[in-house]
Amino acid sequence: MSEITKDLLMALADGQLDAAKRQDLERRLADRPELAADLAQMQRQSDAIRALYGPVISEPLPARLDAARIAASTRQKRGRFWSNAVAAVVIAGLGIGAGWFLRDLSAGPGPADRLIASAVSAHTVYVGENRHSVEVPGDDSAHLTTWLSARLQTNLAMPDLISSGLTFLGGRLLPAPDVPGGRAAQLMYEDAAGERLTLYVTPALTVDAPTYQLATLGVDTALYWADDTLTCTITAPYAPEKLETIARSVFAQLSPRATDPAVYSP
């Protein structure tokens, strides 16, 4: 006859043994009153715990523990979460995309690359706004010219792109830590289909930088050029050819005295 261990006794008390083992053990316990007493003690403990907390099972459930209700509110929260998450991923993705496409245009991320990345980020953020896409609306073009020219310390006219099918919406001032004066102007235009184009204009860089770059970032194309007074990055969801055509018009209006072989080359 094997020894009756404490664990075996406990397993019996906890109802963990199958019928055959249970009957065998109970039979052997008949001769062992001290072990039977231990068993009874453990069973009383279990009974007492069940007596204390068992009745909770039949209490009516409060509404806040209603699974269907929780499921409904979780769906709403999750909906909000996903729309925010998608927005974040789109913005981050554009930033990463900019870095990827611009990686081999010059050695390392030069000042022009950083300007283009800033231009594309600003484009992404503000073209999505409806009521607050611009700070000063385009119907106050004279004020915009005065204001932004003063802030950028350069002579900045508002290019007219009606001939390219683009209506001027207005502009805003943006921080631009990489350029002299630390400010950039964003001008926004909209075509008949509701697509938006932005110009990101800064004073000229004081360091040597490429004068012309073109980058395709997902649906958007960014075209950058620089002359000796300013830089401009045009961003729009257009094909490069179409953007270059618009760029010629913009360039002619922003820098009427200069010529840029990169933009004007056939």
Partner: protein, 168 residues
């Protein structure tokens, strides 16, 4: 998806019972169950059932409770023993443990022993299921159960002697 929600729903009364015994506080217990349900329901789409939904829910609840305790300990929050309401108690009958005394004794044993004891005695789970909920081997579960029982025996004034005077 809807099926899992029904299974979750069916477990709520048992989760409440376990939570009540863990916390001895009706509001904290229901907070715990609510947190558990919110997490489970939010993740039910991701849930690949390795076992029954019930075990999964008890695991979540146990973990939330442990985290809550850890956080409140870090914050230095003190739970007043006096503020914990005593369960309704009938006068002790001969041969039965005084329930209030047992409730207080349960409060003083280590949490890991209390979890093991409640899952097995109150929830009537098999050693295997209880061990998997607590993520421990069955042997560890049994040693926790044994220690919990000895501690309770000492605390409720019925020493582990072969011949117990209270027995009859």
């Amino acid at each position: 998806m809807a099926e899992i929600l029904h299974e979750i729903e069916a477990c709520v009364p048992a989760l409440r019972r376990y939570a009540r015994a863990l916390t001895r506080d009706i509001d904290r217990a229901d907070d715990l169950v609510q947190d558990c349900l919110e997490r489970a329901i939010a993740r039910r789409g991701l849930f690949q059932p390795r076992g029954p939904v019930r075990a999964w829910l008890f695991t979540i609840l146990t973990n939330i409770h442990r985290n809550d305790l850890r956080n409140s300990r870090r914050r230095g929050e003190i739970v007043q023993i006096d503020s914990i309401p005593e369960p309704a108690v009938q006068p002790p009958q001969p041969g039965h443990l005084a329930l209030a005394e047992l409730g207080r004794a349960l409060e003083t044993i280590p949490l890991e022993q209390k979890e093991a004891l409640l899952l097995v005695t109150l929830e009537g789970l098999s050693y295997q299921d209880a061990a998997s909920i607590l993520d421990i081997p069955v042997g560890t579960l049994m040693s926790r159960l044994g220690r919990a029982r000895s501690a309770l025996r000492t605390l409720t004034g019925t020493p582990a002697e072969p011949h117990l005077r209270t027995v009859k």
